[in-house]
Symmetry: C2
Subunit: 446 residues, 2 copies
């Protein structure tokens, strides 16, 4: 090496050339179970940092918490980046939603954010004020705030016959809405993650049956995300599409919406439709604020008709196609969980969505070895583990652990360690026990 | 039910109210292994349709193939939707890339597509002609064609000390580039998927060492995606950033780039830099066309300097931060695999990226039961299986199977079935054998 091979003012020389032809043969194999191998992350290796103070000028409680905890970073009003811990939460939420949508026969697809304005003119929605506008080459384009204008003509190319219906497709993808005042952190972004599903049916009755199945799957999503107890299936306005739509509203003092609850009947109504309900019954209902974490709509035949998507039925007569649409803001759901399952200085993520199940926190460097044993024992039991191996003082570690908010915490101090014990806390129930490492995994399941 | 509860021109009635409070308790539990359960999809249930003819006016070979095969749908020039089969390929490619980036310590994050123009003014790149421009509220904004302008200030908030370096973060996310003539299908989109990784170092030497490790991980990516044999580590221009960058160029007659190969030395050069190499050596090299499937750059300190991202070293002296960036177009890679591993009417996906491993194709309805047994036997052996249970004629099924292009095919005809056999073909090697269902899984591994 080192011999120049270029003649003149030689620029490319052998010494600059590296031939990278060593292909690690084991990497040519599929390793589909990698995600399920023991999962211990050392906190010192994370691109992650908490803040003592909330970010200046951030009015949103969820964003203040999540930025302080190092989950997200704000790029501009209503636009956030997801740091490693925040992305793990988002991926967990997405995974739960994906499983539930698959369970009702939803097929995953992925549509673009960049739409021709022409498609929006076809449905007459080109003047919505939340549309981001741009030019793609010489064509007017918008950034998709929703995807009826794309999914309808797309499905028309894939559905050959009435026998192929019902069909249901969904995607998890970023939406763009140029909100006037995006001050609610992850709850109302200008760019945000969303699962949107669209179903196609030959009859209204078929749509209605499917709609109820999706509503049930939605309940499972919010239950699994830890919001089941506070989330209400709520009647709301159907807007331009139908008489009513339904929202899943998670009750919290910090909610943007107002809903009315009839606990006896198990009914919830969005304030926007209470004029359609008897005043004396409304007066008897509980009024609370809530965050809309999901919504489902019957769209009727409007979109399929606009794109000329009709199918001949068994007797050859062209039939209109009925559509339903079903949305869950994935990043909004992360924000709602943070907002609801937190205090000002601490979060408690449910295990299903937590970035890691367990936080192992040695109080000093002398306790690192025992901490490693504890982490390995938890990982062997199937838990994901964050091990705080940083050289910072104990108080700072505990404050960070509160902010990060993992549901299982193991604190390893000099005194308990001397007795061969570690201190385990279930942060959901508040239960704390001192156990030897060998009994730690059992303690997390108790 | 049915009793109206609304007094006046009653709109909301009990008959319209459905209380959805049945939470399936088993769904409240995590089911992390669902993705690895037996995976058999019946083709009749897919939102999927092949086309006899390529789409009109599509000049790109990969897009013609992938649209005909029902993998993608074109929304506008350079903008594609991914249908269920296409998304499965994309997810497999993303999964391989994710594993390899994790293997070199890359931490996954997710940054927005919507950027303040101000960040691009900070680096002086605000006038790039491929920038999509829009307005976010009253602020000028662009859609990210790359993310140096976002990742640099983001990492500055997460890296507290020189001890936290090196750090490397990556994302898999959609990029936007307003290409003048996007005529290459998935190879050059206006909106396209990309894995972009950025590394941060205290010294050029540390960057160089990491750069070589990433180069090796890239080789593994292309090897696992089935392009290892045709992909060359190629010297290219470093543009504004450094003397040279490196591209991973996959040789194909349909490539957009021209490269020169010295098989003896194991060197490849992009045509754009051959004036820096001795003319007689260039004359002796093989000239081929190729598709750039990945590229890696040393960025120097330019971006960190622009954002004032410096860190005091151990002696307290502020140091510049050296950055590397490492890109793989995920959708481009899907397009390249399709382009290279196909004929005009047939694809052969490598098992690692195929939407399903196995295609089970009964020639008529009488063979469905045996086909189900075959599919279950393959799924039990860990294969994902597409079962063509459609009521269409045998010739159409086989033509569709060629287009869909799964690597393992099982054809079940009346004659072989009568002998208790099925016909297995490994479409990569071309080997065909007739075996009983009990020996099918072994045949796929032979």
């Amino acid at each position: 090496m080192g011999k120049p091979v270029a003649g003149g003012p030689g620029i490319l020389t052998d010494s600059m050339i590296t031939v990278v032809d060593t292909v690690r043969p084991h990497h040519a194999k599929r390793t589909p179970l990698m995600a399920h191998l023991p999962d211990v992350t050392r906190q010192s290796t994370l691109a992650h940092r908490t803040r003592r103070e909330p970010p200046a000028g951030e009015p949103s409680r969820n964003a203040r918490l999540l930025e302080r905890a190092g989950y997200v970073g704000k790029l501009m009003a209503g636009v956030y980046s997801y740091l490693p811990l925040g992305l793990r939460v988002l991926r967990n939420v997405e995974g739960i939603i994906r499983e539930e949508m698959n369970s009702v026969g939803g097929q995953e697809v992925l549509m673009p954010a960049l739409h021709p304005l022409a498609n929006w003119e076809t449905t007459g929605r080109q003047d919505m004020d939340i549309l981001f506008r741009t030019k793609s080459g010489s064509a007017d384009a918008v950034l998709g705030p929703t995807h009826e204008e794309v999914v309808t003509p797309l499905l028309a190319t894939q559905v050959a016959s009435y026998k192929d219906l019902p069909a249901s497709v969904f995607q998890i993808q970023n939406k763009f809405r140029n909100e006037a005042r995006p001050k609610s952190g992850l709850l109302r972004g200008r760019e945000f993650g969303m699962k949107d599903m669209y179903s196609f049916h030959l009859s209204e009755a078929d749509l209605e049956e499917y709609y109820e199945r999706v509503a049930e799957a939605y309940r499972c999503v919010f239950e699994r995300c830890g919001l089941g107890a506070v989330t209400h299936y709520t009647y709301a306005s159907g807007g331009a599409f139908s008489e009513f739509s339904h929202e899943f509203q998670a009750v919290t003092p910090y909610g943007e919406d107002t809903i009315y609850l009839d606990h006896g009947k198990g009914i919830a109504l969005n304030k926007e439709i209470i004029d359609r309900y008897p005043a004396d019954e409304i007066a008897a209902m509980e009024q609370v604020t809530a965050i809309e974490v999901g919504n489902i709509f019957k769209l009727g035949t409007r979109f399929a008709d606009a794109f000329g998507f009709r199918l001949p039925d068994a007797s050859g007569v062209p039939q209109s196609i009925h559509m339903g649409c079903y949305g869950i803001g994935t990043t909004r759901l992360v924000g709602a969980i943070a907002e609801i399952l937190s205090t000002d200085d601490a979060m408690v993520w449910p295990e299903n969505v937590a970035p890691y199940h367990c936080h192992v926190v040695p109080m000093d460097a002398g306790r690192l070895e025992l901490a490693e044993s504890a982490a390995q024992a938890l990982a062997a039991a199937g838990h994901s583990v964050l091990l705080d191996d940083r050289a910072v003082r104990a108080g700072a570690k505990l404050a960070d652990a509160d902010l990060i908010g993992l549901p299982h915490r193991v604190v390893i101090g000099a005194r308990t360690a001397a007795e061969g014990l570690v201190e385990y806390t279930n942060r959901v129930s508040g239960r704390t026990v001192k156990v030897p490492v060998a009994e730690l995994a059992a303690a997390t399941a108790a």
